[in-house]
């Protein structure tokens, strides 16, 4: 008794295109990345905190940072945390699924006061260790976007002391 009620669904797909403004500091960041393999942060003129990624407002002081407040950062940092992502997820840059597993790290570049996250070239969590040094790997042909640093690599010789 009780016929299973038919459950109806309609499918819907919409493309919602956006044009996000990236701001003058981002424009300078990508220029320096592309032309000179330089990674730049922004330094608050009031409290001196160096922000990575660079942005226009220091949240603690509520003071503006401009292109003139940008400072060069090292391409090396120290790993403060890591994970190895082992589930499928969309790659927003391609629209397809990103192949997994892949490693992530959270670290401060030397010279920066805020942390950043990026891919790290290790997929075995037992080979990761907090405190390892990482270094940016730059693409040969850079285009001026985040993909110009496809990942950071663990500096093995320095860490294995």
């Amino acid at each position: 008794m009780g016929k299973k009620e038919k459950e109806f669904q309609i499918k819907w797909k919409t493309d919602l295109p956006y044009k996000y403004s990236i701001g003058k500091l981002a424009v300078k960041y990508f220029e320096e990345l592309k032309e000179n393999k330089k990674i730049m942060g922004s330094k608050c003129p009031k409290c001196g905190k160096v922000h990575m990624p660079p942005r226009a407002v220091c949240a603690d002081c509520l003071v503006e940072m401009t292109v003139n407040d940008m400072v060069e950062l090292s391409s090396r940092g120290t790993l403060d945390g890591f994970t190895v992502v082992n589930y499928p997820f969309i790659d927003p840059t391609t629209g397809g699924m990103r192949p997994f597993p892949y490693g992530y790290g959270i670290f401060k570049l030397d010279g920066a006061d805020t942390y950043m996250m990026h891919f790290v070239d290790e997929t075995d969590h037992t080979k990761f260790k907090i405190g390892q040094r990482v270094e940016a790997v730059f693409k040969e042909k850079r285009e001026g976007n985040l993909g110009d640093i496809p990942y950071f690599k663990i500096i093995r010789d320095e860490s294995e002391e």
Binding site: A59, V84, H125
Partner: protein
């Protein structure tokens, strides 16, 4: 003390499930709304105002409250407003409702949080929360950052996977006493959690919360109206919120600074000096098992690094001094727009003594927590009267 005291007088929840294919969005929401109205013995026409919470992108409906407010709640010819703040939506909603009454503008308000996120792309929705220039290209939804937080916390304090797994065991077996919970696992074992697949080191599948569909509705009223409706309300003693930087990685947040800030604010307001002794139950928002360990510290239940010990000593178990998540928590049920409101609802149910099999004995004061966005915290404390403890 606010201008008007605020009490919760009616509660409604749907039975949370992974997919509610049997109902469309307004039908699902109506289940919770009807339950709350019946609970408060209120006619739809007597509702003064309606607040709705939901993330537009997850179901792909812009201004969803314009549709659901009319089709699922008594919103026609009444004020309908949406509050949407990501994971904290339910608590932002719950807190907005508090100010609606505390200000004296309305004498009662219906607060509804809902999500039917398996109808849309929730993971794609979540990724758009992140900055399109700096964060989106590399992030993998909410789990990646949560895994990093767990990793740093584990390394700093020497917390083990087993300690984290015990949280899942506690919460999902608690959920078996909660008729509304999504994942109810009365016989869950430590091995079951520890043998589950590694999703993002150190998070295993069963260290993470599910994605649920459902709705939760609460009805609030001021002191005069409450007298007419029920003699067993649960009163707001206080609310607090703390936000943080736009970029979640500006600060290493394994210990959730916003929970520390918000809890200090609310404990001061409510006169709590020893949370373990003076709170009787806490419904906290733990998206992963590791989060519960870390955030019990941030909320002042344990010292830094002591979350694991707190659990091991049984303090946060159902039989302990401060049971945490008798409802099963977020690890058992997670309908994003409603999750934080469910925490408030469950805290209220405990104060009212209506928790059935999940009731903690003699609850006078309960804490509800919301978490989300770029690691924000929202808190509410409920009690049998609206006054501070001292």
């Amino acid at each position: 003390m606010p201008k008007h005291d605020v009490a919760v007088v009616g509660i409604g929840q749907t039975k949370f499930r992974s997919k509610r294919r049997d109902v469309n969005i307004p039908e699902m929401i109506y289940e919770a709304v009807k339950m709350a109205l019946d609970d408060a013995q209120m006619e739809p026409k007597d509702v003064d105002a309606i607040l709705i919470g939901n993330m537009d992108h997850f179901e792909g409906i812009n201004f969803s409250e314009m549709w659901c407010g009319i089709d699922a709640t008594p919103g026609y010819l009444k004020p309908v407003v949406k509050i949407a703040t990501g994971g904290t939506t339910g608590s932002s909603l719950g807190i907005c409702g508090y100010y609606n009454i505390a200000s004296g503008i309305y004498k009662n308000v219906l607060v509804v949080g809902w999500e039917k996120l398996n109808e849309g792309g929730a993971t794609t929705g979540i990724i758009t929360a992140f900055d399109p220039v700096w964060e989106r290209p590399s992030l993998a939804g909410a789990l990646g950052p949560l895994a990093l937080m767990a990793n740093i916390y584990a390394a700093k304090y020497g917390i083990t996977s087993e300690q984290a797994a015990k949280v899942t065991v506690k919460n999902r077996s608690n959920a078996a006493n909660n008729p509304f919970a999504h994942l109810q696992m009365p016989n869950i074992t430590l091995e079951y959690v520890m043998n589950s697949q590694m999703i993002s080191y150190p998070l295993r599948l069963h260290d993470c919360c599910p994605q649920s569909e459902g709705a939760c509705a609460l009805i609030y009223a001021n002191e005069e109206e409450t007298k007419k409706i029920t003699d067993n309300p649960a009163w707001f003693k206080g609310v607090s919120t703390a936000h943080y930087y736009t970029f979640g990685t500006d600060d290493i947040m394994y210990d959730l600074p916003t929970a520390t800030i918000a809890s200090k604010k609310i404990y001061k307001k409510v006169g709590i000096q020893d949370p373990i002794k003076e709170l009787d139950v806490a419904e906290i928002y733990e998206p992963t098992s590791w989060s519960e360990l870390s955030w019990t510290e941030a909320l002042g239940f344990a010292e830094q690094g002591g979350g694991g010990k707190l659990l091991d000593e049984g303090i946060t178990q159902m039989s302990g001094e401060l049971p945490v998540n008798p409802s099963g928590g977020v690890l058992s049920t997670n309908p994003i727009g409603a999750t934080a409101l469910v925490r408030f609802a469950e805290a209220v149910i405990q104060v009212m003594g209506r928790g059935g099999k999940r009731q903690v004995p003699d609850v006078e004061t309960a804490l509800g927590m919301g978490f989300g966005g770029s690691l924000w915290t929202e808190l509410a404390i409920f009690g049998k009267d609206p006054n501070p403890l001292r």
